[in-house]
C-alpha cells in the first residue's frame, strides 16, 4: 500500500515539476512578439512578413513547453498504471 502511495505521489510531484518547462517558452515568445511589434512599428509595410515569421518562431519556441506538457500528461495518465503494475 505504502509503495503504491509513494509511486502516485512521485508521479504527481513530477507532473507538477514538468510544467516548470512552461516558463521558458513564455519568456521567449513574449520577447519575440515584443520585437516583432517594434519591427512593425518601425516598418509598417512589412507587417505580413514579420507576422508570419513571428508565428513560426513562436511555434518552434513553444516546442519545449509542449514537451514538458506531454511529459506531465504521461506522468499523470500512463506512469502510475505502469509503475504500480510493476510493483504487482
Amino acid at each position: 500500500m505504502l509503495d503504491k502511495a509513494i509511486v502516485l505521489a512521485g508521479c504527481a510531484i513530477g507532473a507538477g515539476l514538468a510544467l516548470i518547462a512552461g516558463i521558458g517558452p513564455g519568456i521567449g515568445e513574449g520577447y519575440a512578439v515584443g520585437q516583432a511589434c517594434s519591427a512593425i512599428g518601425r516598418q509598417p509595410e512589412c507587417k505580413g512578413d514579420v507576422t508570419s515569421t513571428m508565428l513560426l518562431g513562436c511555434a518552434i519556441a513553444e516546442t519545449t513547453g509542449i514537451y514538458g506538457f506531454v511529459t506531465g500528461l504521461l506522468l499523470i495518465f500512463v506512469a502510475p498504471g505502469m509503475f504500480t503494475g510493476m510493483l504487482g
Partner: protein, 254 residues
Amino acid sequence: MNVSINGPQIYWESSWSVPLLGKLQITASLVDAWIILVLIGVLCWWLGRGLTVENISKKQAVAELLVTTCQNFVNGNMGEKYAYFAPFIGALFSYSALCSLSSLVGLYPATSDLSTELSWALLVFVMITYTKIRTNGVGGYLKGFTTPIPVFTPFNIISELATPISMAFRHFGNIMSGGVISTLVYAALAVLSQAVFGLLPGALGEILSLIPLFQLGIPAILSVYFDLFSSLMQAFIFCMLTMLYIANAAQTDE
C-alpha cells in the same frame, strides 16, 4: 464532480495480433479521420465540377481562390522550382485543419491522437530523406552525418531523428492541451455554479444549483482560442515546417 480525460474510444479490436505492432484497433480518431477524408474528397469533387474559362460561377471563383492561395503559399516559401508540392501541402493543410476543427461539431479530433501526427511526420521525414539523397547522392547523404568532424556523428543522427518527433509532438501537444484544458474548465465551471447558486435560500437555490449555468458562454471564449486559432495555427506551422525542411534538404553544400 467527475472529470474524464480519455484517449480515443476503441470501437473494434482484432482477436489476432500482428507481429511488432500488436493488436489492430479501429479507434474513434481513425473513423473521424476517414469522415474528414471523405468530406474533403466530396468537397474537391464538387468544387472541380463544370469549370469554364469564361463567365465563371461563384463556386469556381472560390475554387480558383483556394488553388491560387495554395500555389502562392508554396511558391513564396519554396520557390517556383517546387511548384509541384502545392497539392501535397494543400492536402496536408486542409486535412490537418479540418481534423482539428472537427472537435467543434463533437467528433473526436483525429489530431489529438499521436498516431495521426506521427504518420504525417514520418511521411515528411521520408520526403526529406528522399530529397537529400536525390540532391547529394547516397554517399553525400551519409557523408553529411560526419560534418563538421566525425565525432559529431551521433549528435547528427539524433538531430535527424528529432525532426519528425518534434513535428509530431508539437502538433499533438497543442491540440491535446486545448482539449484537456477545455475539459478541466468545463468541470470547474459546473462546480463553481453549483457552489454559487447553492448559496441562494430555499427551493430556488436548490433548483438552480442543479443546472450548471456558468457553462453557458464562458467556454466559448476558450474554444475560439483552442479550437479555431490553435487548429489553424498548427496546420499552418506543420505545412510551413514541411516546406522549409524539404527546401532546405534540396540545397547543395558548396
